[in-house]
Symmetry: C2
Subunit: 264 residues, 2 copies
């Protein structure tokens, strides 16, 4: 069935999950809604030989989703090939990120999936969610509405709500709706963006515009900017070329500081 | 907060739950979305002295919802005072009932709650859901969309989705939308309806229109009819009066059958 094939392109990424039972429950929640692609970043209990019993038990008839889970050691590995990355976030952030509710998230993800792109949705630790540096790798954040008096959702419940909205979107949204769904170039993948940010930061240091020991949110704000604008691959190439041109014009930052050289 | 006060009027009824962990997880799911009124019909593990440890543990910070749960021995007790009763149902029924999706269910329940009415939403057993006679006590059934290849949702996950939609409805739906939300009479409660159905069945037997040993879905179809039309209290009184009039005109069914008397 076409719907299930497209839903299976959507990657659910669980980051540093503590309880294997939650992994099993999340797998069941996914399969109930037609999703199947699970990726685990550093789960506490090893999956090296086989998945923990508790994960299998809670998965019930979604054992296959647990057994087929991709287990990796970093978020970058989990999302590297994805062209849209969304992170679940409970808290208001100091630097606000483009924010979706679960319905908007599902519509956006579904349209991407129909357009053949790879999408990842990140879920953080039971205790503290996603870290800031993980959230800053995302194009969007998604927030599930909760009661103010008790807002801490169980991890698998959050997966259930997001996957439920994805299934609903798959029933209703059929046509690409926004400009970005009909773009002429492929969008940059998460790993291409990560290389751009590394190159950018290196160049800003070389320019003495950026002090990594006193970062003052500079890279966070630049990450937000370039994630928000959603770079395509041509644009990434242009920016990388521009940075390389800067690198070549500048004296080698390792030899001397700009201040010492300015007298020459 | 007004929203939370109204959400707390909505009763979540879990019927003959096997696993206390599911009760705890359902309580947490409720509280996360601002609901608090939990009713348990014959849970397998006794709540007589205190709730089972596993229920408390899975509830996390929703321990109060578990501790305050009303524990009863029948569905009738759980819903008796409610004017709207909705049952969760996974399967297609032989006799189809008015069916809502979770969004429609939430909008309807929220509007009732704003109108000050008592509402119950029933969730069945982990193994087999609600029984037919329980489903026939409901005005509506609600069905959560799932994958065809694996449709069996965990109980607490189903509670989570329904409560999540209720919270969403509480954010968006503010005005009564349908005629029935501006009705001049109070709607009949579930126990008033139950008494009507008992009276009706008794009378149909007396009329020899209905054979309880060969029921042929008659009462199911009449239940569906009178649940669908949503009787108000005046209408219940009229129908009960009509049934009483029939009872009084008929010879005592215990003494002789109508056929034997027709010769007089």
């Amino acid at each position: 069935m076409e719907t299930e094939r497209l839903l299976s392109n959507i990657r659910i990424v669980l980051v540093e999950t503590t309880h294997p039972g939650n992994i099993g429950a999340a797998a069941r929640a996914m399969k109930n809604m037609g999703l199947s692609q699970l990726c685990l970043v550093n789960p506490r209990d090893s999956f090296a030989d086989k998945p923990p019993d508790k994960a299998i038990w809670r998965a019930a008839s979604a054992e296959d989703v647990v057994n087929n889970a991709m287990v990796v050691s970093s978020v970058d590995e989990a999302i590297g090939d994805c062209q849209l990355v969304i992170g679940t976030s409970a808290r208001d952030r100091r630097i606000p990120w483009p924010l979706l509710d679960p319905v908007e998230c599902a519509e956006k993800v579904w349209v991407e999936s129909v357009a053949g792109r790879d999408v990842a949705i990140l879920f953080g630790r039971e205790s503290r969610g996603l870290k800031n540096d993980e959230l800053h790798k995302c194009h969007y954040h998604v927030n599930i509405p909760t009661s103010e008096s008790y807002s801490s959702l169980n991890l698998a419940m959050a997966v259930q709500i997001i996957c439920y909205e994805l299934r609903k979107a798959s029933h209703t949204v059929v046509e690409p709706v926004a400009t970005e769904d009909r773009w002429d170039m492929a969008y940059a993948s998460a790993s291409e963006l990560e290389h751009l940010f590394e190159h950018l930061e290196r160049t800003l240091v070389q320019l003495e515009f950026h002090d990594p020991d006193n970062p003052r949110q500079l890279m966070t704000r630049l990450r937000r900017l370039f994630n928000r604008v959603r770079l395509d691959q041509m644009e990434i190439n242009i920016l990388r070329g521009l940075l390389t041109a800067i690198n070549q014009k500048l004296p080698d930052a390792d030899l001397s500081s700009r201040g010492e050289k300015s007298g020459h």
